[in-house]
């Protein structure tokens, strides 16, 4: 029967694809996942969830009454990133921080003005709320940035570092996190279609006994598998296109790279996604188990371990090592690049190669588990 397994007859394949298409069109849940879910995800990540840290509430105590201290306090108050709440003493601010009302506090120490005059400036104190590390980092960085600029404006001479760091945020100067989130959403949606839907539809054929009838006709398993891959590949690409158009039109995400590169990257990502879906369905033959397996092996890693929500470089080493096994990790960075920066073929090629390797592995597993047999 191994000879049978490799056969590909165009007429039979066309009939199977037609059947699959009718089923997709008739099944509202498929269309829901392919076209409504992406819209929902984009709106949640585009408007609802924002990792941007504009206007952090910060407490400030000015213990010095010199003009310099007032000038620095004024610079801090003027920053659009900080919302300053002032207090004459430290204690009430400490309580406010414990109560989660403010994220950081700044103390401009006594004798600050005099120390500037002496050309030996005292450090200002910044305490941040470490229970929210992301925001804490932002707060500290903002204060530091404002302080640096202020020091420069004071025309500091000897005793003050003459080299100042001048930060520029390339490509995403306003640091809008939705520029990052939209490529991530595309990844999630494509994982859902490639892995979850594919796993479900093949498992459904096992469950309903239709595959049994199919196997008693002259179709080969290659034809059967191809008839699942092609429609869901098209569906995945369609959904990706919808996400892209929405991202550009509604959320103003730029597409600085080429459409061709986007197409190539998305196609490469669908290979491991579909392969995993097929493998799961062949191994479980049960819709319920297949959906659980798809969530745990496809959806959750794409969500948590791909760099979509959590920065990979800030994960513990062990977890960082695990992310190398998540195909989505090779999709999100080039996808972000193609949207926000432009075509970077060297990087794309490396990532595409990684995705295809995973794809080949999953297909091999699927091929070895899918048998034309009920044994």
């Amino acid at each position: 029967m191994s000879g049978n397994l490799a056969r590909l007859d165009r007429r039979r394949l066309a009939a199977l694809i037609r059947k699959e298409t009718v089923q997709i069109v008739r099944d509202p849940s498929t269309l829901l996942i392919a076209f409504v879910l992406p819209i929902l995800l984009l709106f949640i990540f585009g408007f609802g969830v924002s990792l941007d840290a504009n206007s952090i509430r910060v407490g400030m105590v000015v213990q010095d009454s010199s003009p310099q201290a007032n000038s620095l306090a004024q610079a801090l108050r003027a920053s659009p990133y900080l919302e300053i709440e002032e207090s004459p003493t430290v204690q009430p601010l400490r309580d406010r921080m414990v109560a989660n009302r403010i994220r950081a506090m700044i103390v401009i120490p006594q004798d600050f003005g005099a120390s500037i005059d002496r050309r030996a400036p005292l450090p200002i104190q910044v305490a941040t709320d470490g229970s929210q590390p992301n925001t804490a980092n932002f707060a500290a960085a903002y204060v530091q940035g404002i302080y640096g600029t202020w020091v420069e404006q004071q025309g500091m001479a000897p005793g003050v570092p003459t080299v100042t760091v001048n930060t520029r945020y390339w490509w995403n100067p306003e640091l809008k996190s939705r520029f990052f989130l939209i490529p991530g959403s595309i990844t999630i949606v494509m994982t859902m279609i490639g892995t979850l839907l594919t796993a479900l539809v093949v498992a459904r054929e096992w469950e309903r006994g239709t595959l049994e009838a199919m196997m008693a006709t002259p179709i080969s398993m290659t034809e059967f598998i191809a008839s699942k891959l092609i429609p869901y590949f098209v569906l995945g690409m369609g959904s990706m296109a919808l996400c892209t158009v929405l991202g550009i039109v509604v959320f103003g995400v730029p597409l600085r790279g080429s459409v061709f590169a986007l197409f190539l990257l998305a196609s490469a990502f669908l290979v491991p996604a579909l392969g995993l879906g097929l493998f799961i369905s062949a191994a479980t033959k049960n819709q319920f188990v297949a959906s659980q397996a798809a969530l745990f092996s496809g959806f959750l890693p794409s969500f948590l371990l791909s760099g979509f929500i959590f920065e990979i470089s800030s994960m513990p080493r062990m977890i960082q090592a695990v992310t190398y096994l998540v195909p989505a990790r090779y999709f999100i960075p080039p996808l972000q690049t193609v949207f926000i920066a432009g075509d970077a073929w060297g990087m794309f090629a490396r990532n595409i190669a990684a995705m295809l390797t995973f794809g080949a592995l999953f297909f091999l597993l699927a091929y070895r588990t899918t048998r034309r047999s009920l044994d």
């Binding site: 199977l16 049994e212 008693a216 006709t217 002259p218 009920l374």
Partner: protein
């Protein structure tokens, strides 16, 4: 002799825990219907799957269409038990799919489709989704898909299961016609009346071949040992109990007002009983091979409470009507069942039996009309009414992941039995149904016969005066079925009222009263003998069987109906 289209010798198939087939031989001849007969889990489906190339045998020589199984799939038609239809595709889309897969040429298509749609009478439903067809129509569509390119070998896996006698007869006629074209057919079935019509039968039990050859060969052995037994002093139920307890008797079933008896010898000594010889049937032979039927007394009934025959009807339905949108699923159904009576609800698939059943046990609210159980109105005293009934669902509806013991505990609790009472009730049913060796087994993996026993056990633990049984014996082997009916008969003699639905017409004979439902209407009521008499009056049949009567009454109702609605 013509070369067989499929031949297998010494087929062995082992699964992890059991041997499904143990040295089975089968020959399928072109132009003939070969019956594959046996109870559920006998190995029928496994054998068919091996012949279709869907499973590999562990041992044995198998040649299908002149090659190894699975090599000549273009010439094979296969209809699995669940028909293999895509429910969200229309009738015509299903046909199209199979036509393309089997390589039907464009030129042949119009003629073939015309013939198949005509043959299956599905032309009117071409655009309907397969999932919305009735069981009988799905079965015909399944057959059409298997036949779309005329095969040389047709494998049918229990095409008659869960299908009413009319659809079953139509299907048989269709397949019979095919054999005239030289197709070799394998027809697997648990119905012995179907098997008796086959050209040859292969009988399996527990994975072993128990008979192979002409069905008459097995029937003939029983000649002179089958009688119609009656008595002037005993009613049929007591007579059956007495006869089944007799050593001379191998098997007995109720038929009309008397008993159909299979004896060990041709000249049984049964004093005081009138015996008239009857022609034997295949089932008699099968029962003998299986070692005879069960004894006549039911331990369950002996331990059951006795209910007095008072004037309160056990079940009373008055003008029950259920509408789903504009579709009337049951219209004006009225009947009364007394304590100590078996009441049968019969009708083709989709006639409204299940709807009526659900209203009676409180699972569906009637659109209009009333019903009560043991004097408690389901509308006003639902909990009291439900407490008075025991319900055994059509499909196995116990918790498959719980052990036998856990299921019993759960149902004892659900029916409100207190600790000590629950313990007693469980001990009692475990003993009666011989479940003690399987207490820790998960219910889902029990053999079908044991599942059925467990389901009955769960339904009767609280000793309700009314029992609702929805197709309780479908798929169960004849011996188990008889054992089941011994319990039912015993319970009825203690004053329990039993409401039952079934597709086995010989089981309908056990009923005291039958209500025949067709197209949501109540078309006939009466005892089995009344219905047969009505049927013979209408159709001019002499001495009709219950199945003849069923079909005649339904066909008569088709003619009567002035505005026939579409059969759906």
């Amino acid at each position: 002799m013509i070369d067989p289209v499929a031949i297998a010798k010494g087929v062995v198939k082992r699964f992890a825990s059991q041997t499904a087939l143990d040295g089975v031989d089968i020959t399928i001849t072109p132009g003939k219907i070969t019956g594959l007969v046996g109870p559920d889990a006998a190995g029928k489906t496994t054998l068919i799957r091996i012949l279709a190339g869907l499973m590999a045998a562990n041992d044995g020589e198998i040649a299908v269409l002149g090659g190894a199984p699975g090599t000549n799939l273009e010439q094979l038609g296969y209809m699995p038990q669940r028909f293999g239809l895509y429910e969200d595709l229309s009738v015509i889309q299903n046909l199209d799919l199979y036509a393309e897969l089997r390589g039907l040429s464009k030129e042949e298509k119009p003629a073939t489709y015309g013939r198949l749609l005509d043959f299956t009478d599905l032309a009117r439903f071409q655009d309907r989704q397969a999932g919305k067809l009735s069981g009988g129509m799905k079965q015909k569509l399944g057959l059409a898909c298997a036949l779309v390119k005329t095969p040389r070998l047709l494998l049918l896996d229990e095409p008659g299961v869960g299908v009413d006698p009319i659809s079953r007869r139509e299907l048989w006629a269709m397949v019979k016609e095919l054999t005239a074209e030289g197709i070799g057919v394998l027809w697997s079935t648990a119905y012995l009346d179907e098997a008796a019509k086959c050209d040859s039968v292969t009988m399996l039990n527990d994975g072993k071949l128990i008979y192979s050859g002409d069905p008459s060969g097995l029937t003939d052995r029983m000649k002179g040992r089958v009688f119609n037994a009656s008595s002037d002093t005993l009613d049929r139920r007591h007579l059956l109990t007495q006869l089944l307890g007799d050593n001379e008797v191998l098997d007995g079933t109720i038929q009309g007002s008397s008993i159909r008896l299979l004896t060990r010898s041709e000249h049984p000594s049964l004093p005081g009983i009138r015996l008239d010889p009857l022609p034997p049937r295949l089932e008699d032979g099968f029962i003998e091979v299986l070692g005879g039927g069960p004894g006549g007394t039911s331990a369950l009934a002996d331990a059951y409470s006795r209910f007095d025959h008072n004037d309160v009807p056990a079940i009373e339905a008055h003008a029950l009507t259920k509408k789903y949108g504009d579709f009337t699923a049951a219209n004006q159904v009225s009947f009364t069942a007394r304590p100590g009576q078996i009441f049968g609800l019969l009708g083709p698939n989709g006639a409204g039996k299940s709807t009526t059943f659900k209203m009676l046990c409180g699972l569906a609210t009637p659109t209009s009309g009333t019903c009560s159980v043991a004097g408690h109105s389901l509308k006003h005293a639902g909990p009291a009414a439900r407490q008075s009934l025991g319900y055994m669902a059509q499909k196995f509806s116990l918790y498959g992941d719980l052990s036998v013991e856990q299921n019993l505990n759960f149902f004892a609790g659900a029916y409100g039995l207190k600790k000590a009472a629950a313990r007693d009730a469980i001990d009692k049913v475990v003993d009666i149904f011989e479940l003690s060796s399987r207490l820790r087994t998960n219910a889902g993996v029990l053999p079908l016969g044991y599942k059925q026993r467990l389901a009955l056990a769960c339904a009767v633990m609280h000793e309700p005066p009314v029992l609702f049984l929805d197709e309780p014996t479908s798929g169960v082997d004849p011996v188990m079925r008889r054992e089941f009916w011994v319990h039912i008969n015993g319970l009825v003699s203690r004053g329990v009222c039993v409401l039952v639905t079934t597709h086995f017409m010989e089981e309908a004979e056990y009923c005291d009263d039958i209500l025949l439902i067709y197209r949501s209407e109540q078309i006939a009521t009466g005892s089995p003998d009344d219905l047969k008499a009505q049927a013979s009056r209408i159709a001019g049949l002499s001495d009709p069987t219950m199945e003849d009567a069923f079909i005649a009454l339904i066909e008569a109702s088709n003619v009567d109906t002035k505005n026939p609605r579409k059969a759906a």
